[in-house]
């Protein structure tokens, strides 16, 4: 059954939440008195549709329905989650919370607050613990972390929040104690304050400061954060050694510490002017698309390396496989008579080239993923490979029959043309809906990873391959099999 979320407040953050829920198959009901709310959320949603569906290697569920409502009461009728992202003023939040209570809604209300503590949110609550901090980061539809903070009475709300957020492919970071601004924004504030001083004092421009970050420690923090980065810097001598070296520096008079530069018009103009010089040739929408393309690429690279935010994404993908019909063993197939579903995903942003379509090498990326899935299904599992057996591709023939764009849903079905001894001859067909996009014909050889030479597969793998090969031999031969490049049709 479709789940439904209420989104109270439809700005950048609320719109990001709406997109995250919708693209993960939830229906979304929005309340925002701003007459521009529908347009604004539409723009966030357009960005999310462009970037999120291809992030993982498994297709997302069909998008949910979005609707807009004129009162809090109407909005939260029948929902299973309420996410509050109204302006960051406690009296506004309390007013909305009282409206929620008045409807009789007993579920959890997550607040996107970046600064308020859960004890402040729950002040005056009929059921303390119903309101908890669920603080996400922009863009909400791509960044996985959500800071979750509750009052002591909110333990059940935390359990529920974790389940909902994990279902959205997010990472609930449950903080043990409440503190102003939670964790991440305290860091951001410390850096922001220091950066204002550096600009004001003429040490560096906004662009130079950004470059100091993104050409340096920003690339480290995207994967390891602070402590693990320093653990590496400490080397074999370890974390204690690093702290002995770096700890004393903290008493040096480096940063501006608690001084806050006065927010004069001059300072605002200085920073806004430098920012225009740095990025003014790109609109905010263009910058957002660039940012999202980079984020998708980073997270997908980390997924390839099974690390950080990419490892989170992989776990989410695996959880989604059954919903799209992907199985991990031939034994789990309902039916072996037809071609086997070996891939069902969305074309991601990093697969697009200068011609504006999926680039040729990524066709093979998708076909290779389909081959990997078939290998897994016949028993060539990570454990089997760790013991020294695998398949190497010897030869590949691809026909590019139609274009695919970023965001297209694609599926690959695979036949075992032949499986004799060490050879595995596969035929892949890649489609978008009914449209045949490409065929791939592949000859693989089973090898020993020790000798790197051809060697027979295990009897179990041979048996499963034979099972598929015999079933698929009964199908009509696919058009294009055995074709050479440039041969007449």
């Amino acid at each position: 059954m479709t789940k439904t979320a209420a989104i109270l407040g439809g700005g950048v953050i609320g719109g990001g939440w709406a997109a995250r829920f919708l693209l993960n198959g939830w229906d979304v009901r929005v309340f925002d008195p701003d007459p521009e709310a529908e347009r604004k959320i539409g723009e966030v949603l357009a960005n999310a549709r462009r970037s999120l569906p291809g992030l993982g290697n498994v297709a997302l569920p069909p998008e949910g329905q979005i609707s807009f409502h004129s009162t809090v009461e109407q909005t939260i009728a029948g929902v299973e989650w309420v996410q509050e992202s109204v302006p960051e003023r406690l009296e506004i939040k309390h007013k909305v919370f009282r409206q929620i209570e008045a409807t009789g809604y007993k579920g959890v209300v997550g607040s996107s607050t970046s600064g308020f503590k859960p004890s402040e949110l729950n002040a005056g609550a009929a059921s303390p613990g119903q309101f908890l901090v669920c603080h996400p980061f922009n863009p909400v539809y791509l960044l996985p972390v959500v800071e979750v903070v509750a009052v002591p009475e909110g333990a059940a709300s935390v359990v529920r929040a974790k389940a909902v957020l994990e279902g959205l492919g997010m990472y609930p970071l449950h903080l043990k104690k409440e503190i102003d601004a939670h964790v991440a924004d305290r860091f951001l504030e410390a850096v922001w304050r220091e950066a204002l001083w550096l600009v004001k004092d003429g040490i560096a421009t906004t662009e130079e400061i950004d470059n100091a970050i993104r050409y340096g420690f920003g690339l480290r923090w995207a994967q390891m954060g602070l402590f693990e980065t320093y653990r590496v810097a400490g080397g074999e001598a370890g974390m204690k050694h690093f702290m002995a070296q770096f700890g004393p520096c903290l008493t040096w008079p480096w940063t501006k510490l608690m001084d806050v530069p006065e927010f004069t018009d001059e300072l605002v103009d200085l920073i806004a002017g430098q920012s225009d010089a740095q990025s003014g040739h790109l609109s905010i929408r263009e910058l957002e698309r660039i940012r999202d393309s980079n984020l998708v690429g980073f997270i997908r690279l980390l997924a390839q390396n099974q690390w950080g935010a990419g490892a989170l994404q992989n776990a989410h993908d695996i959880a989604r496989e059954p919903e799209v019909g992907l199985v991990r063993s031939v034994d789990d197939l309902a039916d072996v008579a037809g071609p086997v579903l070996t891939l069902k995903r969305t074309v991601p942003l990093d697969w697009i080239d200068y011609n504006g379509h999926m680039t040729e090498a990524r066709y093979l990326d998708a076909l290779a993923a389909a081959t990997d899935r078939l290998m897994l299904m016949v028993g060539c599992t990570p454990e089997y490979i760790a013991q020294g057996g695998s398949f190497f591709t010897a030869e590949t023939h691809i026909r590019h029959l139609d274009e695919a764009k970023a965001g297209d849903g694609i599926a690959v079905h695979t036949r075992v043309v032949a499986a004799e001894g060490k050879k595995m001859h596969l035929w892949h067909e890649m489609r978008r809906g009914e449209t045949l996009l490409a065929t791939g014909e592949h000859m693989l050889i089973h090898v020993s990873l020790t000798t790197r030479a051809a060697a027979p597969p295990s009897p179990e793998i041979s048996a499963q391959l034979q099972r598929l090969a015999q079933a698929h031999a009964k199908l009509d031969a696919p058009e294009g099999k055995g074709r050479a490049v440039g041969a007449p049709r």
Copy 2:
């Protein structure tokens, strides 16, 4: 002529400098009294050899020679650059600087100091301005940023430093005024201090703090830094709007401000223990390799998107093309009789799969890059493509004849088999040295990017293709051309 650098101090930073110079073709002379220096630098160098050569899309020059010397005087004999990375104590640095002056060396001395100002470095200097801050970030062989800070007399040293650093593929960030700790380390200190408080007060563990960063704003900072990220967050209303919203928060009592937690044994044990629980299952060497694999992937993804550190890398690649024999036009070929060099690069870390070798899709990635180079050479330039003409690949046949590993140098040579009307039939051969790794046979069709249908190329492109096709028709036909998958040899 080979250039030579002196590396004074061979720790993590000095070793990183040694690797960066060596892998960019410089000879390197090292001074470090530590009897373990050669082993330690060897370990850094092994990591650098694994990751740096494949970072760009153009092969690096042959590696330089490294030698170890027992005095400063011997080390800097005949060098064109001195990089000082001795311990972070001013009296040690001054002692080394006086030894350098005593040899009569008049070139620039870059100091890796993270904290000292150039006025402090040049105190007592015979020639003020000879010593300047060149502060890199770990790992020096991968992260491009170097903070360059000079005293007013050091203007010529800055010019020289920029030329040397850019030649190493680095980004010299020249700060206009000196300040303790330059720019980036001021941010790192602010965050470090705040993080220590959060751990000490039991708000979050080291792992939770790292996750708050790497699943969130770390992914933003790796590409846009601080101000551009906030520019985007401010939306169409602009940077001033963002500052009006966020500026006032700075007076809230969020961060611990100037309080520094006392560095007790308990705090050190708490943090070291949490760090062990988080990352202790991986050795520092393993963590370094993971970090470097991720960094290579990030920078290469950014290069694909022509953004941030990747745009820097692309500029460095283009500058290197002539040195490896790559040209941008058929007219620049010394000779059109033989197959054309269309790729010369090193296999990067992100091209390796679970079988420990270059994965099949990346063979096509390399072959597609070779096709792109041939297109460029015949006149299908970015400007031509922007006007609406391009080639689409219709069909591909790849034979995987041998494995390639990360770090292998590979080259592709290309023949034009036929070029008739809208068709371009190519034959690529990929080699590591003399070893044939793969062949690629490709049929491409010239299209209109407006109609997405076949259309004739410009007369200039047809003429250049014909020129190559006629020359290559005189060569013996390549073995394997016209082959279908699974056909007998």
